[in-house]
């Protein structure tokens, strides 16, 4: 009986996590007529796509109790490698996409190896990777952006609208569609597969998993590699949006993605977290930024208000959780 109660409580809690988001959306809609209009909503979603994908990737790493600071510059490096293959190499589009994702997975694997095998704390291993990748992007490109002008359809990856071509009233950009697909797949992986199980298990008590005879190192490396691959998708999305790989971009994006994850209720201590929460976290952040801009709040006040609302949103969530218990 009490257990059933507890389970109902948990479901309720998840639904309630939307609350902060909805309050924000309603608030902004009332404050400015320009906010709740289909094109602005699409802008918000489009703005969420890259950060959302990065956040989904880093959610995996965070659930294992790790952290990945390299995602921002890795995203850029993946975009660069995709540009190298497509623009410099003149290869067909799918190969470029694969190159970007493979770069991400490989770099993730390297980070994972440093963490699992060399026992370097994730913060340091990925901080090092962040700097290395930042430098490499500049070196490979010679500090100049690589443009995708010669690759037909590259911008469509993120900016086109498959759904819009079917339902013209709902021109959801492909980038957002991709975010939702990635999120759904990863949510499925986390909830249903062995990999997902070990992700939670590692974050919950790594030593216990090892004592159970599981090759924890290998799984950890796999998780970092998967996260890297997702970041690679993020790299494709951002370069498709910019129609170029901008080598200097990326630093600071990791913090934003991690913030989305934590706002979404995933614990930095590991062991718990949801992809849905991460999506909501990422949406809260882009709704906030867009809403304050649409309201023409002065930029310096935007920062202050964003900071305050993030704190209040998480606090409200905290209160609800305590009330639920």
């Amino acid at each position: 009986m009490s257990e059933k109660q507890a389970r109902r409580g948990a479901a309720q809690q998840k639904l309630l996590a939307f609350a902060s988001l909805i309050v924000l959306v309603v608030g902004f809609s009332l404050a400015s007529p320009a906010f709740f209009r289909i094109d602005n909503i699409m802008s918000i979603l489009q703005a969420t796509s890259v950060n959302g994908v990065l956040a989904v990737g880093v959610t995996l790493v965070i659930i294992t109790g790790g952290i990945d600071l390299s995602i921002g510059t890795l995203m850029t490096f993946c975009a660069v490698m995709s540009g190298v293959v497509l623009t410099w190499g003149g290869m067909p589009l799918p190969l470029g996409v694969i190159a970007g994702i493979a770069t991400g997975a490989l770099c993730g694997l390297i980070s994972g190896t440093l963490v699992a095998k060399a026992k370097i704390p994730p913060f340091i291993a990925t901080l090092g990777m962040m700097l290395i990748l930042k430098g490499l992007s500049l070196i490979v490109t010679g500090t100049k952006p690589i443009y995708f002008n010669d690759t037909e359809g590259y911008t469509t990856i993120s900016q086109g609208s498959l759904i819009g071509s079917i339902i013209p009233q709902f021109p959801l950009p492909n980038g957002v569609l991709i975010l939702f697909i990635v999120a759904a797949v990863i949510a499925w992986v986390l909830g249903r597969t062995v990999l997902g199980r070990y992700t939670f298990a590692l974050g919950s008590n790594e030593e216990a998993v090892r004592l159970s005879g599981v090759d924890t190192d290998r799984w950890k490396m796999a998780i970092y590699a998967l996260a890297g691959g997702i970041v690679g998708i993020g790299g494709i999305l951002i370069s498709s949006r910019l129609n170029s790989a901008q080598p200097a971009l990326g630093l600071g994006y990791e913090l934003e993605a991690i913030a989305a994850v934590v706002i979404g209720g995933t614990s930095l201590a590991g062991g718990r977290g949801t992809i849905l929460g991460t999506l909501i976290g990422a949406l809260i952040m882009s709704v906030l930024t867009n809403g304050l801009r649409v309201m023409s709040v002065a930029p310096e006040w935007q920062t202050v208000v964003t900071g305050a609302i993030i704190i209040v949103a998480v606090y409200a969530d905290q209160l609800r959780r305590r009330a639920a218990v």
């Binding site: 906010f35 703005a47 500090t143 900016q159 910019l242 170029s244 901008q246 600071g252 801009r293 935007q302």
Partner: protein, 289 residues
């Protein structure tokens, strides 16, 4: 009955240069009776953040949009969107590779940096080692000023050797540390060029902390640079006319929104200033604190 509004999307907003642009824009807004909004990303790498700002600005349906594009290609789809929505677009600070912007108010950074190179050569007597502390390896202004300076030196002054080019993100402290390392590694260095306000002040601090008499040439304005030039710690600097950029941009935007035609290129100019002319009225007018 609706008041006209002009949305300026710049490359940044916290730094003094952009604040001076904003000041000019606000003044034009007040003079012409239009609402002016001004914003920009935290740093000049965040191309996608600027696109998000542009999207938010479009949602507000202003009378005109003015943009200092971080990457001109990336914003073209949104500029087309503006065009189809009937919102006129202007460019400021640097141009956009497109015929959508009806006017561009900007500084020729290459020429400005070349002028800095000429002055530097003159100040160090046409030969010796110099260095550059730039504010960005990738932004348009960073590249233009670096290349404008470097190419001018290479072409005109074979006796002058540029020993190193470092990048300090325009961060005062970082530029200070860079300068100190340059001075430690190259004790014979004669001059250093700082490519924006933060870089120039950093060079100045570094030279002072190392007790070095190196010739410092700066860029942009601000109280510290003005003081340093007055005291002789900095030999001189190039200033643009950011207030003018802001003012002219808004003025042109309002004109375009009203259906008037404006000049395609509004050159806001740049000036060399040093101890001798800092208080001259035409210079004082373009300097800012």
């Amino acid at each position: 009955q609706d008041k006209m509004s002009v949305a300026l999307i710049s490359k940044g907003f916290q730094h003094q240069f952009w604040q001076a642009v904003k000041q000019g824009a606000d003044k034009a807004g007040a003079d012409l009776g239009v609402d002016v909004t001004f914003e920009g990303p935290d740093n000049e790498t965040q191309v996608d953040k600027q696109m998000d700002m542009l999207a938010a600005a479009l949602a507000k349906k202003p009378s005109a949009i003015a943009l200092a594009a971080l990457d001109s290609q990336a914003v073209i789809p949104q500029l087309k969107q503006a065009q189809s929505a009937g919102i006129p677009v202007l460019a400021f600070d640097s141009g956009v590779d497109s015929d959508i912007p009806v006017a561009t108010a900007s500084t020729d950074n290459v020429a400005a940096a070349a002028m800095a190179a000429d002055k530097m050569a003159e100040l160090i007597g046409g030969s010796g080692q110099i260095a550059v502390v730039a504010h960005s390896q990738t932004s348009a202004t960073g590249i233009d000023r670096r290349d404008g300076f470097v190419n001018e030196i290479k072409e005109k002054y074979p006796e002058i050797q540029i020993v190193t080019i470092e990048y300090g993100d325009g961060d005062h402290l970082k530029s200070t540390e860079i300068t100190k390392a340059i001075l430690a590694a190259n004790p014979d260095i004669k001059g250093i060029f700082g490519t924006n306000e933060g870089s120039a002040i950093g060079v100045l601090n570094g030279a002072r902390e190392m007790n070095s008499k190196v010739v410092v040439v700066g860029f942009d304005s601000g109280k510290a640079q003005k003081d340093a030039i007055r005291s002789g710690a900095m030999a001189g600097a190039i200033t643009q006319n950011p207030v003018g950029i802001g003012y002219e941009t808004v003025k042109a935007a309002v004109a375009v929104a009203k259906g008037e035609t404006v000049a395609k290129n509004i050159d806001t100019g740049f000036f060399w200033y040093d101890k001798s002319n800092i208080d001259a009225p035409e210079i004082a007018a373009v300097l800012y604190d």
